[in-house]
């Protein structure tokens, strides 16, 4: 079983690569397009996958940030993400992994409880982002945010590392998380 490790390859010059993992193909593609439309001084590369492990036949650059996309409407998406998490090396969770939850807007269609994903993110000590990917404006804003995160995780922002970003994001987390 191949495991993704964050630093097993050398970085490409001025290149930042993000891996979006999720079962919602259309949403992932739209998010990828939004990200590529963003103004960025670094060269962005977006890879999409339904689940991990990734096929080893393909040569790919070093992955700087993994975003697991979970749709609250689909238990399948959560299950796939949980399975894929086993194929990620522990060192990735030092700021280079993030969870993105979509579909929270339509409460009636949600088959997964919000607390479930909150607990998941807490277990892996990674930031949890909420965004309704179907709405274009929210998607664009999230794309912007992801691009900034990606730049930091790729080491393109001097003085800010993935780990410091992680602790920064942790401060603004909901304090009720401690109760879990």
């Amino acid at each position: 079983m191949s495991v993704l490790r964050p630093l097993d390859k050398l970085p490409g010059l001025n290149t930042a690569t993000i891996l979006l993992v999720g079962t919602e193909d259309a949403l992932l593609q739209q998010l990828a397009d939004s990200m590529l439309r963003e103004d960025c001084t670094s060269e962005l590369r977006v890879h999409l996958a339904n689940s991990l492990p990734l096929p080893s036949t393909v040569a790919r650059p070093r992955i700087d940030l993994i975003v697991f996309v979970i749709n609250l409407h689909s238990k399948h998406s959560l299950r796939k993400v949980e399975e894929s998490l086993h194929h990620v090396d522990a060192t990735f969770f030092l700021g280079k992994v993030s969870f993105l939850v979509t579909g929270a807007g339509r409460e009636s269609h949600c088959s997964i409880h919000r607390n479930t994903v909150v607990k998941l993110a807490h277990t892996y000590r990674s930031p949890l982002l909420f965004c309704d990917l179907e709405i274009e404006d929210f998607r664009a804003t999230m794309a912007q945010r992801l691009v900034r995160m990606l730049q930091i995780c790729a080491g393109h922002v001097p003085g800010v590392s993935a780990l410091s970003l992680l602790s920064l994001m942790r401060i603004s987390e909901n304090p009720s998380l401690e109760d879990l």
């Binding site: 970085p11 193909d25 590369r45 890879h47 339904n50 393909v58 001097p158 590392s161 993935a162 602790s167």
Partner: protein, 221 residues
């Protein structure tokens, strides 16, 4: 399982039309900015790898810990990171304020220096003006003296000319003749009084006349 959608987003230069190929065609200054940015990037990435190496050298605890213990340990470590960050920020603030003080002092000194230089400049200008004026006055006085000199010479010449003119000569001759005549008359009266054998010393009126006749009229010239 993977959809290989590896689409490179573009941006090569700073604000120009996004083109990867354009990197080489960019102006020298854009290239410099790009190189500096890449340098900062590489530094940051190197730092990341270094810290990962350092972290891997740490001995991981051998005993199997309960999950709760692991969580507690993780929280403890996270708090440590926070404390170190805060201490660093405080240190940075202190250094910055020291730096700010020094910078302020330097600025003040610079202001003083500039002011002194400006004053020196003004004084030098004034000195130059005074020297110029002195030169002008000297020249003016020289020309005035020259004028006076020429005037004096002119007057002397005029005087000499006057003396040489004919009119003067005639008047002088007349004067001479009158003096001679008067001298003769003086002698005549003198001899009259002396010949009359009168005692002129006793009579104040006669005395006065005799003394007056003694006056040498040639000195009038």
């Amino acid at each position: 399982d993977m959809q290989a959608a590896a689409e490179p987003a573009d941006s090569g230069g700073d604000g120009g039309p996004p083109q990867v190929a354009g990197k080489d065609a960019a102006r020298p200054e854009d290239r410099m900015t790009l190189l500096l940015r890449l340098r900062a990037q590489t530094k940051q990435q190197l730092l990341e790898y270094k810290s990962m190496i350092d972290a891997n050298e740490e001995k991981t605890p051998e005993q199997i810990m309960q999950e709760k213990q692991i969580e507690a340990k993780i929280e403890e470590l996270e708090n440590e990171i926070e404390d170190v960050k805060i201490a660093f920020e405080i240190k940075k603030l202190a250094l910055d304020s020291l730096l700010m003080d020094n910078m302020k002092q330097i600025l003040n000194l610079n202001k003083l220096i500039m002011k002194s230089q400006q004053d020196t400049w003004d004084l030098e200008e004034k000195l130059l003006d005074v020297r110029k004026k002195r030169l002008q006055l000297k020249q003016a006085s020289e020309s005035k003296l020259l004028e006076i000199q020429t005037e004096k010479n002119k007057q002397k010449d005029d005087l000499e000319n006057m003396e040489n003119s004919e009119k003067i000569k005639t008047i002088q001759q007349n004067l001479q003749r009158e003096i001679q005549i008067t001298t003769v008359i003086q002698h005549m009266f003198q001899n009259l009084i002396l010949g009359s054998k009168a005692n002129w010393a006793e009579d104040s009126a006669l005395k006065e006349i005799v003394l007056q006749l003694e006056k040498n009229l040639t000195t009038i010239q």
